[in-house]
Structure formats: structure tokens, C-alpha cells
């Protein structure tokens, strides 16, 4: 099967520091794939290269079989690539509804209209409300994001990305900073995501990773150490040494 997202020999160095070293990676349609690795392994750099925030030093990125290595971020998003941020990146002083609506308007191509008031674009608002309802945020639609509990802000992150109807969704630590009793709410929402979206999740919470992912790639110092099913990864001695072992010592 053709990969929806693929990298070929992807490299990135900052001076003498190599943060991505010949990464070959494939994301299959409908995948539930996790990228794990110790701090500083280059996970977020990898996501930023996939999105087009950072330009790779060498190598290729293919989205839906087409090369997008030099394509700007906005064009990649329009081709079906969505993301959430590790550090909450929202429109803090705007209502939750607007946070989602801005993204949906971009997808629909109505974001550049200058005449009809935004609040009369009923179809954008209706879709935003449906999306918020699906994530259990309907009651918060009119609340400013800054006034929202942190766990709900993480859900707004996901809502914005879903509003783009992505074919590929990159979740950069969706549960980062969320208290453990709220992680379940995020996970259950992730589990209900449409099965045809290919998802790459970057996560430190191993419990979440092993419950959610069907494939796992382990990244260590910019190099892919191994890839496999959760069972294979759990059994892999090297993974225990470099990653799980390190965590046990910490």
C-alpha cells in the first residue's frame, strides 16, 4: 500500500549537531503510529520538517506520494496535513468557537472574504459547533480560550486540527502537561477519531502510547533505532536500554 506520508533519508543538522540522521519513515493510510524517544531525540524537529516549519538539510518528504520537501507549510496543510502543538498554540483571547472557525474557514477557502461579516458565515459556525460538540466542548464555545481549563485547551488544539479535515494528523504530545486523571478524556477522544485519518503521535506517556498506537518508531539522537508493533517494541532490549531503561533510572 502507498504511504500517505513518507520521508527518504531525511537529514537535519544545526552546525555540527545532527538532529535527524537519514530518517526513512512511512505512515500508512489510517495508521495509528507513535514516535517515541528520549528527550532531545529530535522528535519535534522531525514534526517541524514534516510540516514545513524547518527545511531539512537533505532528503525528501512525500505527502500522498508527491514530493513536498520544498512546499511551504500553508500548501502542505491544504494538501491534508494537520498538526497539534506540544506547547499549546491557540488564539488565547478569542472564543473557543473562533479558534476552530478560523481553521475551517481556511479549509473552505472563505477566510479571505472581506465583505460579509464573519459571524454571518453560518455554515462555518455550524460546522465549528458540531466539531466542538463531538469533543465535548459545546458548552465552552463562547468562552475565551485563556479562561479555559488546561485540559480543555488541549482538546481545542485537537479540535482546530480536526477542523482542517486532515488526511494525516501529527499529534505532538497531545497530553503534555495534562494531569493524569484528565489524560483519559484526551485518549478517549483520540480513540474516536475517524479511522481513515493517518495519525502520527509523539508522546512521552508510555501508557497512552501503548494503548493507542498499532506501530511504534523509536528515535534516538536523530536515528531510527527500530520500528515495530507495541509488543515487539516492549520486548526490544535496545529500547529498554536507551529509553525505557533511562526512564527507570530517572
Amino acid at each position: 500500500m502507498a504511504a500517505v506520508l513518507e520521508t527518504r533519508k531525511l537529514c537535519k543538522s544545526f552546525g555540527a549537531l545532527t538532529v535527524a540522521d537519514n530518517i526513512d519513515f512511512r505512515l500508512e493510510p489510517g495508521a495509528r503510529h507513535a514516535l517515541i524517544g528520549p528527550n532531545g531525540a529530535g522528535k519535534t524537529t522531525f514534526v517541524n520538517m514534516l510540516m514545513g516549519v524547518l527545511a531539512p538539510s537533505s532528503g525528501q518528504i512525500l505527502l500522498g506520494g508527491e514530493e513536498v520537501t520544498r512546499v511551504p507549510q500553508s500548501a502542505r496543510v491544504r494538501r491534508g496535513l494537520g498538526r497539534t502543538f506540544q506547547v499549546t498554540t491557540l488564539f488565547r483571547s478569542l472564543p473557543v468557537l473562533d479558534n476552530v472557525a478560523l481553521g475551517i474557514a481556511e479549509r473552505e477557502g472563505t477566510a479571505t472574504r472581506m465583505w460579509k461579516p464573519a459571524s454571518r458565515h453560518q455554515e462555518i459556525k455550524d460546522e465549528s459547533m458540531q466539531l466542538l460538540a463531538a469533543l465535548g466542548l459545546a458548552d465552552d464555545a463562547a468562552t475565551r480560550v485563556a479562561d479555559l481549563a488546561y485540559g480543555k485547551q488541549r482538546l481545542v488544539e485537537i479540535a482546530i486540527a480536526l477542523g482542517l479535515k486532515p488526511k494525516v494528523l501529527l499529534l505532538d504530545e497531545p497530553a503534555a502537561g495534562v494531569p493524569s486523571h484528565e489524560t483519559d478524556k484526551i485518549l478517549s477522544n483520540l480513540e474516536r477519531l475517524p479511522p481513515d485519518i493517518a495519525i502520527l503521535i509523539i508522546e512521552h506517556d508510555m501508557e497512552l502510547v501503548f494503548r493507542f498506537a498499532r506501530r511504534i518508531t523509536v528515535l534516538v539522537q536523530g536515528v531510527v533505532l527500530t520500528e515495530g508493533t507495541p509488543e515487539e517494541i516492549a520486548r526490544d532490549v535496545r529500547v529498554h536500554q536507551v529509553y525505557l531503561g533511562e526512564q527507570a533510572h530517572a
Binding site: Q73, T89, F91, A101, A111, A118
Partner: protein, 328 residues
């Protein structure tokens, strides 16, 4: 205020500036030239609010467009037979739009201090050109003898400034209506998104740079029209329309009134120019001191500008967006 949750209908308070302007015309007929000047600077401040208040582009060079518009109208009126005021306005708008597009496309790839310095550099360069190109601009002496024909072939610019006042009021009304339309539109909402969090706008697929170039061009066009109006009303244009000083003045006016709230651009110039007029008569050498004190008081005690204070003291003036209303 704007955006998908806002109520776009015009509230009764939004008619107050226009009622005040008409009242000014009948109650203070001796001050019509000051009135026209205020209206022009409101239009200039509105154009600045569009990029600073809504899109978050910080600039110290907005006078470049104001000045180019002023000199375009001036050069046409003084050196050519094109004396129709609306034609002069159109030419000024076109020139400023071109400059906005050309410079915006270069400088909007940068941010923060770099952007600030580049905007300043552009207006400084224009000031130097205007200073040196005396055959066109009159240089340091200014360009006098700017001919302006009747508005629509009907209304002569009279000695008392009646025509000038209504002419400026009409242009300001059009400018206000366009700006209001834009900020309540999806484009305005999207600009607020860029100001709030550019990284997120990139991630939802917005080509942020092009969006900024477009609004910068629109804003430059408006500023150019404002500059042309000043030339037409004075039938003179001098070097004081270019460089840091007018850029700083308009920024101070907007901050005084309140940034990013549309009507701050109305209140700021009124307070600033009336204070300037009064202080300049009372203390001709120290009037800037009074403006300075006013600015310090506002930024220390009224972060939202004078309009922010009015919101606090007179809550019924506050725009009740449907978001806030339903959150209550």
C-alpha cells in the same frame, strides 16, 4: 469585538462620532479648518489601526504613505492641469498602494525590531527624496500653489473651510465603512488570528505573509488618501508629512485613543489635535510637553487608551459581542 462570535450590526453608539461632527460644524464654525485636520488624521489613524491594531504590524513608517499621497496630490495640483480633487485622490491612492505593495512585499518577511527599523528607513528615504527633488516638491520651502478644483465640479473650497470639512467628513465616512466591513469580515477575523498567534495561522494553512502584504497595501492606500486630503485642504504640502515625526504622531494618537478597537482612531486625533491647538496657543514653546504628559498618563493608567477608560466607566458603550453575552 470582531470575528465569528461578534454581532456585526451597527450599534447606536457608533453613530455618535458622526453626530458630533455635524454638531461641530454648526456650533464651531470658526474652527472648521481644525475640524477638517482632525477628520484627516482620524482617517490616517484608522488606516494605522487596521495594520497595527488588527494585524499586529508595528510600524514607525506609516507617514511614507501619507506623505506620498500628499505629494502626489500636490504635484498634480501644482505642476499639471489635473485639479479635480477626486482624480487627485485616486492618483494618490494608486501611488500609495503601489508603494505599500512594493515595500510590504519586502519588509513583511521580517518581524519585530527589524520590521520597525525598515519601516522607519523607508519613510526617511522618502523624506530625503522630497527634500532634494526641489523641482517637483519645493524641497524645504514646501510646495505651494496647489490648485484644487470644485468637488464634483460643484463645491468650491471656500475660505471658511465648509466644503473642506464636509469633503473630509465624506471621505472619512467611506474609509470608516470600509474598515468596519473588513474587520468584521472573515479576513478581519483571520488578521486577528495572525496577531494572536501567527504560528497557529500557519498551521491551519494560511499563507500569512501574503495576507499581511494585502492588508498592508490596503492600509497604505487609505493613508495615501488621508495625505492627499491634507494637501487639498491646505493647498500646500511641506516636508512635515514625511519622516519619523508624523509617523510617531499618528502612533501616539492611536495609542491615546486605544489600539485595535476602531473608535480609538476617532478619539485619539480629537484629543491630540485639540490639546495641540490649545497648548500651542498657550505655551508655544512647550506644547509637546503637555502631549508627553498626556501620553504617560494614558499608558500608565489606561492601557486600552481613552476608549479603554470609557469602557470601564460607561459600560453601556462596550460592544456586546454575542460571545460575551452568551457567556454571561
Amino acid at each position: 469585538m470582531s470575528g465569528y462570535s461578534a454581532d456585526p450590526r451597527i450599534r447606536w453608539t457608533e453613530w455618535l462620532p458622526w453626530v458630533a461632527a455635524i454638531a461641530f460644524f454648526f456650533l464651531l464654525p470658526g474652527y472648521l479648518s481644525l475640524g477638517a485636520r482632525i477628520l484627516i488624521f482620524i482617517l490616517f489613524a484608522l488606516s494605522l489601526d487596521l495594520i497595527l491594531g488588527y494585524a499586529g504590524i508595528v510600524t514607525l513608517g506609516h507617514s511614507a504613505f501619507f506623505g506620498l499621497g500628499a505629494y502626489t496630490a500636490g504635484a498634480l495640483g501644482a505642476h499639471t492641469g489635473i485639479t479635480d480633487p477626486l482624480l487627485q485622490l485616486a492618483a494618490a491612492a494608486a501611488m500609495s498602494a503601489l508603494l505599500g505593495l512594493a515595500t510590504g512585499a519586502v519588509i513583511l518577511r521580517t518581524r519585530a525590531l527589524t520590521l520597525l527599523m525598515l519601516t522607519l528607513a523607508i519613510t526617511a528615504i522618502l523624506l530625503e527624496i522630497a527634500n532634494k527633488w526641489t523641482s517637483l516638491t519645493g524641497g524645504a520651502d514646501g510646495l505651494s500653489g496647489v490648485k484644487v478644483a470644485e468637488v464634483l465640479g460643484l463645491f468650491r473650497f471656500d475660505l471658511y473651510g465648509k466644503t473642506a470639512f464636509f469633503y473630509c467628513l465624506a471621505m472619512l465616512f467611506i474609509g470608516w465603512w470600509l474598515v468596519r466591513r473588513i474587520i468584521y469580515s472573515p479576513y478581519g477575523a483571520m488578521l486577528t488570528g495572525i496577531r494572536e498567534n501567527a504560528a497557529r495561522m500557519h498551521a491551519v494553512g494560511a499563507p500569512v505573509y501574503w495576507r499581511l502584504v494585502l492588508i498592508y497595501t490596503i492600509s497604505a492606500t487609505m493613508a495615501g488618501v488621508a495625505g492627499a486630503l491634507l494637501t487639498q485642504v491646505n493647498q500646500f504640502v511641506g516636508l512635515n508629512v514625511l519622516g519619523l515625526e508624523p509617523s510617531g504622531d499618528i502612533l501616539v494618537m492611536l495609542i491615546l485613543g486605544g489600539v485595535g478597537r476602531l473608535y480609538g482612531a476617532f478619539i485619539g486625533p480629537v484629543v491630540y489635535l485639540i490639546a495641540q491647538d490649545y497648548l500651542a496657543k498657550q505655551y508655544p514653546e512647550y506644547w509637546y510637553f503637555g502631549i508627553g504628559v498626556l501620553l504617560i498618563i494614558v499608558v500608565l493608567f489606561a492601557r486600552g487608551g481613552i476608549l479603554g477608560l470609557l469602557d470601564k466607566w460607561l459600560p453601556f458603550l462596550k460592544p456586546a459581542s454575542s460571545a460575551r453575552a452568551s457567556a454571561r
